[in-house]
């Protein structure tokens, strides 16, 4: 139904407040999805909690060796592996300084898709 779709203002508001949580090349896709959502989906997507990539980067820089950064974005398996191997012998800890923001944004997109699908 046409009246259930969010208006342009709401869509733009969402993108303005939450744009930083996603990879910039995904924003177009997100915008198209938002325009086609009904009220319930839009609500779920708005109330979903997303992780701030900058904060996760700070965590990674400080205690990345213990895998806390991976745990925080919900990647439990990788977090445990990182913890057990002392940050992958230190090498993985350093590599993650460069990878973790992208990983956070990918996980945020996952949360977005799950919220819109209603699981």
């Amino acid at each position: 139904m046409e009246e259930n779709k969010p208006d342009k203002q709401k869509v733009d508001m969402f993108l303005m407040t939450n744009g930083k949580y996603f990879e910039s090349y995904r924003l177009n896709h997100i915008r198209s999805r938002l325009k086609e959502m009904d009220d319930d989906q839009f609500f779920r997507v708005q109330t979903q909690s997303y992780k701030d990539p900058m904060m996760i980067l700070v965590v990674s820089l400080l205690v990345g060796t213990l895998g806390v950064d991976r745990f925080l974005i919900g990647e439990v398996g990788l977090g445990i592996a990182k913890l057990l191997t002392c940050g992958g012998l230190g090498i993985w800890a350093i590599v993650d300084w460069f990878l973790i923001m992208g990983a956070t944004r990918d996980k945020n997109l996952e949360r977005f898709e799950i919220a819109s699908a209603g699981y």
Partner: protein, 141 residues
């Protein structure tokens, strides 16, 4: 093999290779007479704060397990047991998966993530890790 599966199996291969490479390096370093007795560590936590992290000592444990000294191994760091088991079992399942086209490793990983995402499992895990960490500090690893 699908793209995410290929990425996963490549990561597993890298991890196992890195693990054995590391073991080989420490074995070599330990066998050089002039290096004997020198303390070295890759642990950022230990290098910065001189306190060991929860997994410090696991390399020594794995080495001891591979040599058969089980009691020594348990005493140094129990986490090394999981690493040793991983280093032994994962390559076997990896080769099996590649040859027979199954995805046992992938399924095991997914199952592992699901189990460990539950709150009580995570809490128990962190309690055990912290206990092990305190023990590490007390032992002066």
């Amino acid at each position: 093999m699908s793209k995410p599966d290929r990425k996963f199996y490549l990561l597993i291969l890298t991890a196992i290779a890195a693990g054995y490479l590391w073991l080989g390096l420490t074995w070599y370093a330990d066998s050089r007479a002039e290096l004997k007795g020198t303390e070295y560590t890759v642990c950022v936590v230990k290098n910065v704060s001189s306190l060991p992290c929860p997994s410090c000592g696991s390399t020594r444990t794995v080495k001891n397990l591979f040599l058969g000294n089980i009691s020594d191994a348990l005493r140094i760091n129990p986490l090394g047991i999981f690493l040793a088991l991983g280093l032994l079992i994962v390559p076997v399942v990896f080769i099996w998966d590649i040859i027979s086209g199954t995805r046992h490793l992938r399924h095991a990983w997914d199952w592992f993530q699901i189990v460990f995402s539950q709150k009580w499992v995570l809490i128990l895990f962190f309690v055990l890790i912290t206990a092990n960490w305190i023990w590490n500090i007390n032992k002066g690893i």
